[in-house]
């Protein structure tokens, strides 16, 4: 059996009284895996633990078949991973090239010529070759996001952690991002944390839904969508029995929840399934309270 790139067993993390991760056990291997969940679900905590910037309070963790608690192993893991944090920072006075070059040095690329070639390569992939000499402070929000993505691609990482990579991107940039991720060489393990379900549908072969520090679903996007089968219906007007409903562009209402007997059922999407899942978690919590 192939070893998972990320292997979490009973991983826990607390921030004061808040339990961010509650005994998470999961293995993630090559391919694009989506991490879906509402704000505060524990996605970013999971990403930070996988990026070795945060240590778990309990459980065991193996990354790229190494133990991140060991100092030498941790350095080796860091050599082989790329990380785009949720809120990436930038050196405003550096040019785009200088910024990525600086990160490349911190990725132990000391040979100047090959490092510069690599920096040009990732800037080209991110579509920033034309603005490589422009100061970071002069780049647009979308360009900065792509710059952060470019630095994560340095040295073709085997494990690529992307925390909300498409936040703030316009539709064209988002499509371009999808193209970039789907064309990454060497089939790395990509973990994409997001709450944009379109990105999951478009890119991921596997989706993990996290809510309140617990894994609620682990499977393909199609299977996730199927969990809402028989619970999504269309109607001409609002239905108070629905858990959630909204008026669509054609004037009809889309409802999710427990349908009436005569409901006109429709094919559920990943959005419907996600909303039902997160809504039921919230409902359970409120009932318990």
């Amino acid at each position: 059996m192939q070893q998972a790139t990320i292997d979490l067993t009973g991983v826990e993390k607390r921030f004061g009284a808040v339990r961010a991760l509650d005994g998470v056990t999961i293995g993630i291997g090559p391919g694009v895996t989506g991490l879906l969940g509402p704000n505060g679900a524990g996605k970013t905590t999971m990403m930070r633990i996988a990026a070795t910037v945060l240590a778990p309070d309990g459980g065991t963790l193996r990354l790229l078949d190494r133990d991140p608690t060991d100092a030498d192993d941790r350095v080796e893991i860091r050599r082989r991973l790329g990380y785009l944090p949720q809120e990436p920072g930038f050196y405003q006075r550096f040019t785009a090239f200088e910024f990525v070059d600086y990160v490349a040095i911190l990725k132990e690329m000391s040979d100047r010529r090959s490092r510069h070639e690599e920096v040009r390569r990732v800037l080209e992939i991110a579509g920033l070759a034309d603005v490589s000499n422009r100061k970071v402070k002069a780049l647009s929000g979308g360009m900065r996001r792509r710059l952060a993505f470019a630095q994560a691609l340095l040295r073709d990482p085997e494990l690529l952690l992307l925390d909300e990579p498409t936040a703030g991107l316009d539709p064209e940039q988002r499509l371009r991002f999808r193209e970039l991720v789907s064309n990454l060489p060497n089939h790395p393990t990509v973990v994409l944390s997001t709450h944009i379900t379109e990105d999951i549908t478009a890119l991921c072969e596997r989706v993990i839904v996290v809510a309140e520090g617990v894994i609620r679903f682990d499977g393909s996007p199609e299977t996730l969508a199927a969990t809402a089968s028989g619970r999504v219906w269309l109607a001409e007007s609002a239905d108070p029995r629905a858990t959630l409903s909204w008026r669509m562009g054609d004037g009809r209402h889309r409802h999710i929840g427990d349908p009436p007997v005569d409901a006109e059922m429709t094919t559920p999407t990943i959005d419907d399934a996600y909303l039902l899942m997160v809504g039921s978690v919230r409902g359970d919590r409120e009932a318990a309270a």
């Binding site: 991973l81 040979d111 690599e118 390569r121």
Partner: protein, 265 residues
């Protein structure tokens, strides 16, 4: 598995120091600092050319003091560079990278050689111009000039150590003010020889003073590294540098005290 592009070859410190060094010498604060020895040197060169300059000691001090000002600006610039991650919120991103914080600090410490070289080049060019007009610095004057150049290195290291232990952008300017206005006036005369940017009167003492400033620079570098490096790896450099500072300091105090040893109390 394919080979990752941009393979590692050699140490990261030289690569980091090149990038950081270039950023330091192109930093606006440093460029303001460069203007001061340039101005001082220009005045001195003017008096050399019109023949009114008598000696380095009497007429060249403005260039040397300008270099001290350059050192102070270097301190603020290195402090600024060392606090960059804090200011830019890149700490989390960089924490996921393999180069450890002490290596980054070493790279920045090595980068202070760049402003030091700028100071050395400025003073060297004035020395050459003076020599062409038969105004060569004496041995002790040359040691003093080297001392001013080494002070740039020391002040640069102080900026990095301050960022490590007191990570606030307000600390370095306060220390700069202290260096400029408080130290010479507030220190008892007997202790003046221990002020890194002071000059001492005799050639052998000037050499000891130079050794003292070098030692002090090494101590400050160790202090800067001590924040993140393993204590064991710093033990030997710390002991050697402290021994140099103590030995040179004792010699300086012993020779400059009016009554041997009394001023130590």
């Amino acid at each position: 598995m394919s080979t990752a592009p941009g393979r590692t070859r050699g140490s990261v410190v030289p690569a980091l120091s090149r990038t950081e060094g270039w950023k330091l010498v192109s930093h606006p604060i440093f460029l303001v600092g460069v203007a001061m020895p340039l101005l001082g040197s220009a005045v001195f060169v003017g008096s050399i050319i019109n023949g009114s300059a008598v000696s380095w000691e009497e007429d060249g001090w403005m260039a040397a003091v300008g270099v001290l000002m350059l050192g102070i600006m270097t301190m603020v610039a290195t402090n600024n560079a060392a606090l960059r991650d804090r200011r830019s919120h890149t700490a989390e991103q960089h924490a996921s990278l393999p180069v450890r914080p002490p290596i980054r600090t070493s790279g920045l410490l090595a980068a202070t050689l760049w402003p030091t070289c700028v100071a050395a080049l400025l003073l060297a060019s004035v020395v050459v111009i003076g020599a062409l007009q038969d105004l060569t610095p004496s041995g002790i004057e040359l040691i003093h000039l080297i001392g001013f150049v080494v002070s740039v290195l020391l002040l640069g290291a102080i900026g990095i150590a301050l960022a490590a232990w007191a990570p606030s952008p307000f600390v370095a300017p306060v220390v700069a003010w202290f260096v400029l206005f408080v130290t010479p006036g507030e220190t008892p005369a007997a202790w003046h020889s221990l002020i890194p940017w002071e000059t001492v009167g005799e050639t052998d003492l000037a050499v000891w003073h130079l050794v003292y400033v070098f030692g002090l620079t090494a101590v400050v570098a160790v202090i800067a590294l001590a924040k993140t490096a393993r204590a064991r790896s710093l033990l030997v450099p710390a002991l050697i540098s402290v021994a140099i500072v103590v030995t040179a300091g004792v010699v300086l105090l012993d020779r400059t005290c009016p009554v041997g040893g009394v001023c130590l109390l």
